[in-house]
């Protein structure tokens, strides 16, 4: 179940936190993209839309886009307007570049074509970052600093996870220069100042390009779930930068729920998601001792995943809000951990799923979900 290129471009672009995204799409695409972003931050309405209707499809959407650009520039106090042309204008061939060049606005304008049918959500994310790379400025290197690449502003737990990862790295003597894509335009511009790019699941093309053009090396890492996963994450980065820090973690909270964890040992579970899924499966299998029956990525055959889960002994499902139906059908609990999560809010930025504290929060969420769903012996 993949949102397609448009969603990927939207997620990457809306991660520039003081930019405004102008979706050149019909209303449905705009609503879909927006709703996943606003469930956990209802004030984050930094996006506009041309709201293409039949009139724009037949006569072309260029006039609507021009008007929307002018109005968005008037309405928002923003340094950057990011125009994303989705499926409909790509099919009818709107000349977006000509429209963008025809207006003089206060905000800088950048546009990208991201027709959903032309690639996956990850393709859209990767290509959008390459396009956004044009905003970067030459910057003096800040020793011992990294960019984190792969985030989106609508990732579940993103605020808490970024905060936790930043603190973990800071404890290891590593400063986070820019979080891509969850940063201000200014932070994005100065991304070349980092000593190392750390790619978490997506954004590899940007890292490749920065390596080629700026000589900035990169490291591809799994998302830091669990104690081992986090220790490995911090170790690898500090080793690469030569800070030589040995992270320490506290297992005291886990001791307090040892009996529950013992009871859950060997629990058959299934996991589906974006690039977070593999790291989550590793945590569940390697640290909690769960038996991961089915592990899949969003871009895999969803119906095959559904069938495999149905034919397995799965008693807990890990995924997104999209898995609610399967969980309900199988009468098993669903633990939401990755995009899109639109039926839970996530507003507390001190309860991460990533990092050492994240391992505690995640374990707590799992035990609580199982207990409240009908007891440990279900």
């Amino acid at each position: 179940m993949d949102g397609g290129k448009f969603f990927g471009a939207f997620r990457a672009s809306s991660g520039i936190t003081d930019a405004v995204v102008l979706n050149h799409v019909p209303v449905g695409c705009n609503w879909g993209a927006a709703i996943f972003k606003t469930t956990s931050n209802q004030f984050d309405m930094r996006h506009a839309c041309t709201v293409m209707h039949e009139r724009e499809i037949v006569f072309g959407g260029e006039d609507a886009l021009r008007e929307a650009l002018i109005r968005a520039d008037e309405l928002y106090d923003t340094p950057l307007l990011l125009v994303i042309a989705g499926d409909a204008p790509s099919i009818i061939g709107d000349d977006v570049e000509a429209v963008v060049n025809s207006v003089t606005l206060d905000a800088e304008v950048m546009w990208m074509e991201a027709a959903g049918f032309k690639g996956s959500m990850m393709d859209g994310y990767e290509e959008a970052l390459l396009r956004l790379a044009g905003l970067m400025k030459e910057s003096e290197t800040i020793q011992g600093s990294v960019n984190l690449i792969g985030f989106s502003p609508d990732d579940f737990k993103v605020d808490a996870d970024v905060k936790e990862i930043k603190q973990l790295l800071l404890d290891a003597g590593v400063e986070v220069n820019t979080v891509i894509s969850k940063c201000s335009l200014e932070e994005f511009r100065r991304a070349p100042a980092a000593e190392l790019n750390v790619v978490l699941g997506q954004g590899t093309l940007l890292a490749e390009q920065m390596k080629k053009e700026l000589g900035l090396p990169y490291l591809k890492m799994d998302y830091p779930y669990g104690l081992d996963g986090t220790a490995h994450f911090v170790n690898a980065i500090s080793e690469e930068l030569g800070t030589g820090h040995e992270p320490e973690f506290d297992i005291e909270p886990f001791k307090r729920v040892y009996l529950y964890l013992h009871e859950l040992y060997g629990t058959p579970v299934s996991v589906i998601g974006d690039f977070h899924a593999e790291a989550m499966a590793n945590f569940l299998d390697g640290e909690l001792g769960f038996n991961v029956e089915v592990s899949a990525r969003n871009e895999d055959d969803y119906f095959a995943f559904e069938e495999e889960v149905r034919n397995s002994n799965t008693t807990i499902l890990f995924g997104s809000s999209f898995e609610q139906n399967i969980a309900e059908t199988l009468n098993i609990p669903l633990i939401r951990f990755c995009y899109p999560v639109f039926d839970n809010v996530c507003v507390y930025d001190d309860a991460p799923y990533a990092g050492f504290r994240g391992a505690v929060c995640l374990t707590e969420a799992i035990i609580n979900t199982v207990m409240s769903y009908g007891g440990m012996n279900k």
Binding site: E54, E56, V58, F59, G60, G61, E62, I92, D94
Partner: protein, 279 residues
């Protein structure tokens, strides 16, 4: 009610033929609707004497909700009802979607039910270039299709493509091929070429429209030849063609030609061209 479409390569003479057929049929006191499905929107000019506002013009200026049938349906020569679908400016938007939108709007306005025509004729842009221009085939708006062609290879190629379109929608609608209309105004004017094409497609040539100076003369005056020169031979040709189409019951599902078969026809045309050069 008799409903048919006229298709053919751009500039082949569809609008001339449709407007003259409509004018000819109206002489018998029949109620006729002609609908131009071409962004060029000039098919009805010879029936009305001027360009008329198109369905999509009104959609753009008034909006779908405020449009009335009288905004888009105009009476022309002999009471022929004229409608133009219209389209976007060249180079923008989607003309194919425009045809779909225009037909939907006419349906919503109940135009065909209110007028209760004896005959509806659709004049559709050049080729079945996209789904929009296949709309009359897809939704069963017409009973059958008539394809206008000359002896030119590209016109024959387009005619064959239209047949592919008819065949594609065969399972979803009852639209069939009614026949070929031969327009003899190309460099090579050899009816046997088009008869050969019709034969291979499994259909027949329903009428032949010869070159006539009266046609451009009438069109310069924004008239059909039925109106401009009613007693002329060419006017009778259109009358005969109109009768042949209306009475035609010989409808087929065409068997489109392969590239090799099209090449064989092209070779025949080349021989004729050489003969013409030598003479």
């Amino acid at each position: 009610m008799r409903k048919f479409c006229v298709y053919g390569k751009g500039g082949i003479g569809k609008s001339t033929i449709v407007s003259n057929i409509a004018a000819a049929l109206s002489e018998n006191g029949k109620t006729i609707i002609v609908m131009g499905c071409d962004p060029k929107s000039d098919m009805t000019r010879n029936l009305i004497g001027k360009r008329i506002p198109t369905v999509l013009d009104l959609f753009r200026s008034k909006g779908a909700d405020k449009m009335e049938p009288e905004d888009v349906v105009f009476k022309g020569f002999n009471g022929v009802y004229c409608i133009e679908a219209g389209g976007p400016e060249p180079g923008v938007g989607c003309a194919g979607r425009g045809v779909i939108t225009a037909v939907d709007m006419l349906d919503r306005l109940g135009v065909f039910n209110d007028i209760e025509p004896d005959t509806v004729i659709y004049d559709v842009l050049g080729d079945v270039v996209c789904g929009g221009f296949a709309m009359p085939l897809r939704q069963g708006l017409a009973d059958d299709v008539y394809i206008v062609t000359t002896c030119d290879p590209m016109a024959i190629y387009a005619a064959n493509n239209i047949c592919k379109g008819i065949k594609r929608f065969a399972n979803r609608s009852a639209v069939t091929l009614g026949g070929i209309i031969y327009n003899g105004r190309s460099v090579v004017d050899e009816p046997s070429i088009v008869e050969g094409l019709a034969d291979r497609l499994g259909t027949k040539v329903l009428g032949r429209v010869p070159m006539s100076l009266l046609v451009p003369r009438a069109e310069l005056r924004r008239k059909t030849v039925i109106e401009y020169a009613p007693d002329s031979e060419i006017a009778d040709t259109f009358r005969d063609l109109a009768t042949a189409i209306c009475e035609n019951k010989d409808r087929v599902m065409p068997d489109p030609l392969s590239d090799d078969e099209l090449d064989e026809i092209n070779e025949e045309i080349e021989v004729l061209l050489k003969e013409r050069e030598e003479n």
